[in-house]
């Protein structure tokens, strides 16, 4: 099986740790992964702001059509590829592209979906001795339907102290450019999410989307909450010292904030 990684533009540019961790988890499970350098962005930020970049849809289709599966460490971008790409192509009158986009969407998996459904495992052999709370991002549960896959993966992590996030079903208020266009409402939503996170006493907030984490983490940093944010992949890539090739807990402590 030829598997490609679509890191998403945000991870490529600002959160390479999440991308590296995704590679490590897959390779640790014996699944080689390729990173086609022609990839850039799925176009979600544009689409959700009203700018339909059909060129980015075409690019995604062309870059990834030769692979058996594409892994995306983002529920939001995976959902955009599934639901928005065909719509954007159709809006541009490119019905053939829409068909191809639909076909590629069926081979595009968010990380937890790929691990549980394609690799058939919810135990990736990770070790992460920290108190963690998990925020299920809106697009991952409502648009994509990852359900409890990320939690199943987290529950199998050795040493983890996983605590439920109160009002976990509530949006964090990021919403892409929503956070800029409606800054006051976004800030009000963020405040409630941060309160819920802080209440858990967790030292790490985990999610499957670096975008939402950038927003919540940015808020937590601003108030010096002393809680760090990690992508699901980063926790799954953490292994016991001396076991495997990496010790992400200490690595990431330096490279993420």
């Amino acid at each position: 099986m030829r598997v490609a990684l679509f890191t998403t533009c945000l991870v490529d540019a600002l959160f390479p740790d999440a991308g590296q961790a995704t590679v490590q988890v897959l390779e640790h499970l014996g699944q080689p992964v390729e990173f086609p350098l022609e990839q850039t962005c799925c176009g979600q930020m544009h689409a959700n702001s009203g700018y339909f970049e059909v060129a980015l849809v075409r690019r995604y289709v062309e870059v990834f059509s030769s692979y058996d599966a594409v892994v995306v460490p983002s529920g939001s971008c995976a959902a955009s590829i599934h639901h928005q790409h065909p719509m954007i192509a159709r809006a541009a009158g490119e019905h053939w592209l829409a068909k191809r986009a639909e076909a590629i969407a069926t081979k595009t998996f968010e990380l937890s979906q790929f691990l549980v459904d394609v690799m058939g495992t919810d135990d990736v052999g990770a070790y992460f001795p920290h108190r963690v709370t998990y925020h299920p991002t809106c697009h991952s549960i409502r648009m994509l339907g990852v359900r409890d896959r990320p939690l199943r993966l987290l529950r199998k992590v050795r040493g983890i102290d996983l605590v439920e996030l109160p009002r976990w079903d509530q949006c964090c208020g990021f919403g892409g450019t929503f956070s800029i266009k409606n800054p006051d409402v976004s800030a009000a939503m963020l405040a409630d999410k941060m309160e819920a996170v802080i209440m858990t006493g967790a030292e790490v907030l985990c999610a499957g989307d670096r975008s939402c984490l950038m927003h919540i983490g940015g808020g937590l940093d601003r108030i010096r909450a002393g809680i760090r944010t990690l992508h699901l992949a980063e926790i799954l890539a953490s292994t016991e010292p001396g076991y495997g090739t990496n010790q992400l807990p200490t690595d990431t402590a330096e490279t993420t904030r």
């Binding site: 890191t7 991308g19 702001s49 700018y51 690019r59 409606n182 940015g218």
Partner: protein, 474 residues
């Protein structure tokens, strides 16, 4: 042509309204309390039904059938209702509808009418239009009465006074009602009792009532109003003349279809198994109830909505307000911020389509696209997708702007690998603005830090790793 009160002309754009609302502590508390209660009730009622998802699918399918053959069902309805003694009128827009209703009331010689709560009459601004003709219309729904007495506007589709708590309601009653007992407490029962006494006289005197309808049955020509208080039942049965303003999308093909909708509506709207009052009437029943029955079928922009393949699903809406009650944006701004008769997620997709996106350009952006509305909508309206589609329409209709230039530039960079790779090397510049920067960055950094940029992009890491790996193999 005028769309009436579909949008309120005196209202600033959503973000400005929202800024004010978000800082109104009392409003925030009132709405948070009320929505979380209804939300919980709805969830309990929905969990009870094992076939809820099938019901939603059926509801959506029935409405889609109506919308696909609206012309046929409308004529069928007109014929059936006329046969049973109702007078059917057609109104293209708010002005026409208001004109028809005013003339009908004027013809009775009455100067006072009683009203059943109705979104369609809000939308066309009927009460204001009647007032201009010297006709007083009295709202009889408790919450609508509170809004009317308070010279206020509704802020919710089902609970129009949701933004007021009982202390505020007590004050309004004492100040405006005229016949409120001087020792009125803020106990909900006492408030309801005061309203009941106030309204009773109106019910007994009124010769004309005005209503909307939740459903119109094409097969039989019947109308249905679902309500909780019984005020609707009084309005629909006591007066001689009954005038109902009904949006053309309210049709259902057959009476049997109510089986689906009378399960979907009460559970979604008030979190009840059944509405306490379901009143159905079909034309005139000689010697029983109103003997003059008028039905005004209202377009007011609906056929425009129908034209749009993605947007038309908004016409399935049964006004249950479940989407408002779960919406994180609505929860923090309340309904007035939307500056329109239909607030919340459904308002954000319906209003711009009814009046044209250029007149409500900020509404499609009044959402974080969290999708909770879609999850609860009993007729499966994919509100987030319609929002995105409308955002696209807004952008297309817009003059060239700085924002547009920024997105175009970002798009150009992302369209080419070399440009993108080079752009990523600029990431460290972000360090300058981590805790504050010029607009629009300041809108982010007002409450959040920007992340510490990485030393290396992912792709640079990947390339260097591949080089090392190859080196290892040699």
């Amino acid at each position: 042509m005028s769309a009436g009160e579909t949008i309120w002309v005196d209202n600033p754009p959503f973000p400005a309204n929202a800024k004010q609302a978000v800082n109104d502590a009392q409003l925030r508390r009132n709405i948070r309390n009320a929505t979380s209660t209804i939300r919980q009730r709805r969830a309990t009622m929905v969990e009870e039904l094992p076939d809820w998802q099938q019901l939603r699918t059926a509801g959506a399918a029935i409405k889609d059938e109506v919308l696909a053959h609206l012309d046929r069902y409308l004529e069928q309805f007109e014929q059936a209702a006329t046969q049973r003694g109702a007078h059917v009128h057609w109104a293209r827009d708010a002005d026409e509808a208001n004109c028809i209703v005013s003339s009908l009331v004027a013809a009775t010689g009455e100067r006072e009418v009683i009203k059943v709560k109705s979104m369609a009459t809000q939308e066309i601004g009927l009460v204001e239009a009647l007032a201009k003709r010297g006709i007083n219309a009295y709202e009889t729904d408790l919450a609508e009465l509170i809004v009317q007495l308070g010279h206020d506007r509704p802020s919710h589709i089902v609970v129009p006074a949701i933004h007021k708590n009982r202390r505020e309601i007590r004050e309004i009653f004492l100040r405006e009602m005229g016949d409120a007992p001087a020792d009125l407490s803020d106990d909900p029962h006492a408030l309801a009792e005061a309203a009941r006494r106030h309204l009773r006289r109106k019910f007994l005197q009124a010769k004309v009532a005005i209503s909307g309808a939740n459903f119109a049955i094409a097969e039989t020509g019947s109308l249905l109003v679902a309500e909780s208080e019984g005020n609707g039942r009084m309005c629909l049965t006591l007066p001689d003349t009954l005038i109902s303003v009904v949006g053309i999308e309210k049709l259902l093909p057959t009476f049997r279809d109510l089986e689906v909708f009378l399960q979907l509506l009460p559970r979604s709207s008030t979190g009840e198994r059944m509405n306490p009052y379901n009143s159905v009437w079909t034309g005139v029943t000689p010697g029983d109830g109103p003997q003059q029955v008028h039905i005004v079928l209202l377009d007011n922009g609906r056929t425009n909505v129908l034209r749009d393949q993605i947007g038309r699903q908004a016409l399935r809406c049964i006004r249950c307000a479940a989407c408002l009650n779960v919406c994180p944006v609505y929860e923090r701004t309340g309904g007035h911020a939307y500056g329109a008769t239909y607030p919340g997620p459904i308002g954000a997709v319906l209003t711009p389509q009814l009046v044209g996106v250029e007149h409500a350009a900020t509404l499609p952006f009044a959402s974080s696209l969290c999708g909770y509305c879609y999850e609860v909508c009993p007729v499966k309206i994919d509100i987030p997708t319609v929002l995105v589609k409308l955002r696209h329409d807004v952008v297309k209709a817009k003059q060239p702007s700085a924002e547009g230039a920024l997105f175009a530039a970002a798009g150009a960079v992302m369209r080419g690998r070399r440009r993108w790779t080079r752009a990523l090397r600029l990431a460290p510049l972000m360090r300058l603005f981590r805790h504050g920067g010029p607009p629009p960055i300041s809108r982010w950094t007002a409450v959040r830090d920007l992340p510490e940029p990485p030393r290396q992009s992912f792709r640079d890491w990947w390339v260097s790793r591949s080089v090392t790996k190859r080196g290892d193999q040699q």
